[in-house]
């Protein structure tokens, strides 16, 4: 016991730094390496500053996707508009094309028919991209959770960075959510790692079960499908 303790808890800080750095440079552990860092090797100062700068850039300015689903989109419009003016925070330019957007605010209930389309829109956005889930429906399905057709939260479909609760959240709450997102991005907290809870699959790849057999006639093998199991969802 007493022998292994110094190994597990290193008290010498320089030792720790060297180890971590060596692991990064040698490539045994490149989790913290950005592409630039991999390209330039270890010269932390400039790259750290550069990372900080990029985080500031991404946190200070964002184009939103002009994307309305349900009730919350009304409050979202109010957030863009006269009184609340989200553009003060550099986040008030709605772009109609997902190719030019950074942030998608998901304002409303997602139902089974829409979920794959939303996933598609999200996939069309260029990285780095962020998601603000607006309203209870994007957290759990909200008041409609027990519906036969309602997907229980946006996280079932796309990764969400910030949840803004409320039904619907007030514009102030949405502004707070966006500001929080900006703060997180600026401090480098928002993870660039994209978690994909589910993918759209091709129908031909699915395991044969009763439902798939029933649909085999109707759906083309190459069609994309979303498979959703209400019994397993939260």
């Amino acid at each position: 016991m007493s022998d292994s303790a110094p190994d597990r808890f290193r008290s010498d800080p320089t030792q720790v730094e060297t180890d971590t750095r060596d692991a990064r440079i040698s490539g045994t552990d490149d989790r913290f390496n950005s592409k630039l860092r991999q390209a330039f090797g270890a010269s932390p100062f400039i790259l750290t500053k550069f990372d900080q700068f990029m985080n500031w850039v991404r946190g200070s300015s964002m184009f939103m996707l002009q994307f309305g689903i349900a009730c919350c989109s009304i409050e979202m419009m109010h957030t863009y508009a006269v009184k609340h003016d989200l553009d003060r925070f550099g986040a008030g330019v709605p772009r109609a094309s997902p190719r030019q957007a950074d942030v998608i605010i998901v304002p409303g209930t997602i139902v089974s028919k829409f979920a794959p389309r939303m996933k598609r829109v999200y996939d069309q956005m260029p990285e780095p991209k962020f998601v603000v889930g607006m309203g209870s429906c994007t957290i759990s399905g909200g008041p409609f959770q027990e519906g036969y057709n309602v997907v229980k939260g946006a996280e079932e479909v796309i990764p969400v960075d910030i949840h803004v609760p409320g039904c619907p959240p007030r514009p102030e709450a949405l502004i707070y959510g966006v500001a929080k997102l900006q703060e997180r991005i600026a401090t480098g907290e928002s993870s660039p790692v994209v978690v994909k809870p589910y993918e759209l699959e091709e129908f031909g790849d699915l395991d044969r079960d009763e439902v798939v057999d029933q649909l085999a006639e109707e759906i083309d093998e190459d069609d994309l499908v979303m498979r959703y199991n209400w019994a397993d969802s939260p």
Binding site: D87, G90, P126
Partner: protein
């Protein structure tokens, strides 16, 4: 810069007196830079030209950078009772840095099935066609890159290359909305280019020259003197009708409201730019704004006396006139509904074209009678 000023003055003076005498194309800015560097001959022309082009291009790109992410938002906001960016830096000015760096650092998505060389070239064509147009624009204070005798023809030729770019973008994007945008761009450009150039031709008839610097020089002559104030012979004052026609056709040419059909958000998403992201989108965005400014620059040169104006140096006046035109486009964007494509083309072919030819004929007759 004072040296350049002198150069311009002298060239103008010689031109005004010796009109019609054939001489090699002058390049005031390049010449003065070469003069400052002590170079002459071919080397001087090349080095001076390159440095001059670099200067002008940077001035315009900076202007666009201010206009795109910041001024446009602020102007729109003040039309709509809002504040717009005010958190990042003083007056939100740092948003310019943030926006441009962020857009440039985004992932560049190349969608499946795009027509590759055309798709890549389109943004470059759009942006640079507009930038090339500035080569012959007399900014005043000696800032004019080249002053060929066919300046007016050159600037319109350069500006209309952009429609080729728009069509390329629309067609190559493999997106139906883009295609619609591209087709609209062709239709509108053909319909409105003709009235635009025919109206400009009326100015050329007045001035008797195609050279930009001379058109400016002609406008410097006094028209009337009222109560001690001399009103110069700006063509906007001489022929306000032509100016109105030109401004309208210009709006259509640069695709702004009420003629922003190639983009038309809410109808065809973002038109020809729908599929573009990251750097290419920046280029398209830049191209759009440079086009607005080029439109403003042409209008200022042909109708508003170019760099002329009291007290302040010519360059500043020219800049102000360009921005005034930019403000005008933003005002139209905030307040005027968009026309439908068929009405737009009707207005172009049946209205603008007829009026512009009428204007041309009238001008020709008047000039013929008076002179």
């Amino acid at each position: 810069m004072t040296g350049g000023d002198v150069v311009l003055q002298t060239t103008n003076a010689t031109n005004a007196t010796g009109a019609g005498v054939s001489r090699p194309p002058s390049a005031p800015l390049a010449d003065s830079i070469a003069g400052m560097l002590g170079l002459d001959g071919v080397v001087g022309a090349v080095v001076g030209g390159l440095i001059g082009a670099f200067l002008i291009a940077n001035v315009m790109l900076t202007t666009t950078a201010i206009a795109g992410p910041w001024a446009k938002r602020k102007i729109t906001a003040s039309f709509t009772d809002r504040i717009a960016v005010n958190r990042v830096g003083p007056f939100g000015l740092l948003i310019i840095v943030a926006d441009s760096v962020r857009l440039l650092s985004k992932e560049l998505i190349v969608p499946d099935g795009v027509d590759r060389p055309a798709w890549d070239l389109a943004p470059i064509v759009i942006t640079f066609s507009a930038l090339i147009g500035f080569a012959v624009i007399p900014f005043g204070s000696g800032l004019q890159l080249a002053d060929p005798e066919t300046g007016v023809v050159f600037v319109f030729a350069a500006a209309s290359i952009a429609s080729v770019g728009v069509v390329m973008a629309g067609y190559a994007s493999n997106n139906k909305y883009s295609l619609l945008g591209g087709l609209r761009a062709i239709a509108s450009n053909i319909a409105y280019e003709i009235p635009l150039i025919v109206t400009a031709a009326s100015v050329v008839i007045f001035a008797g020259t195609l050279q930009m610097s001379e058109i400016v020089a002609v406008q410097r002559q006094p028209l009337v003197t009222v109560a001690g104030v001399t009103i110069p012979q700006w063509f906007a004052i001489v022929n306000p009708f032509a100016f109105a026609l030109f401004t309208l056709a210009n709006l259509a040419e640069i695709g702004r409201n009420p003629f922003d059909l190639p983009e038309a958000p809410t109808e065809i998403v973002a038109g020809f730019q729908t599929e573009y992201s990251s750097v290419y989108f920046v280029l398209l965005y830049l191209g759009e704004f440079i086009h607005i400014f080029l439109g403003g620059a042409i209008a200022a040169t042909l109708f508003l006396g170019g760099p002329a104006g009291p007290v302040l140096p010519g360059f500043v006046w020219f800049y102000v006139k360009m921005w005034a035109f930019f403000l005008f486009t933003q005002w139209a964007r905030s307040a005027v509904p968009r026309l439908r494509i068929d009405q737009f083309l009707d207005a172009g072919w049946k209205g603008m074209l007829v009026l512009s030819f009428a204007n041309l004929a009238l001008t020709a007759i008047l000039v013929g009678v008076i002179v």
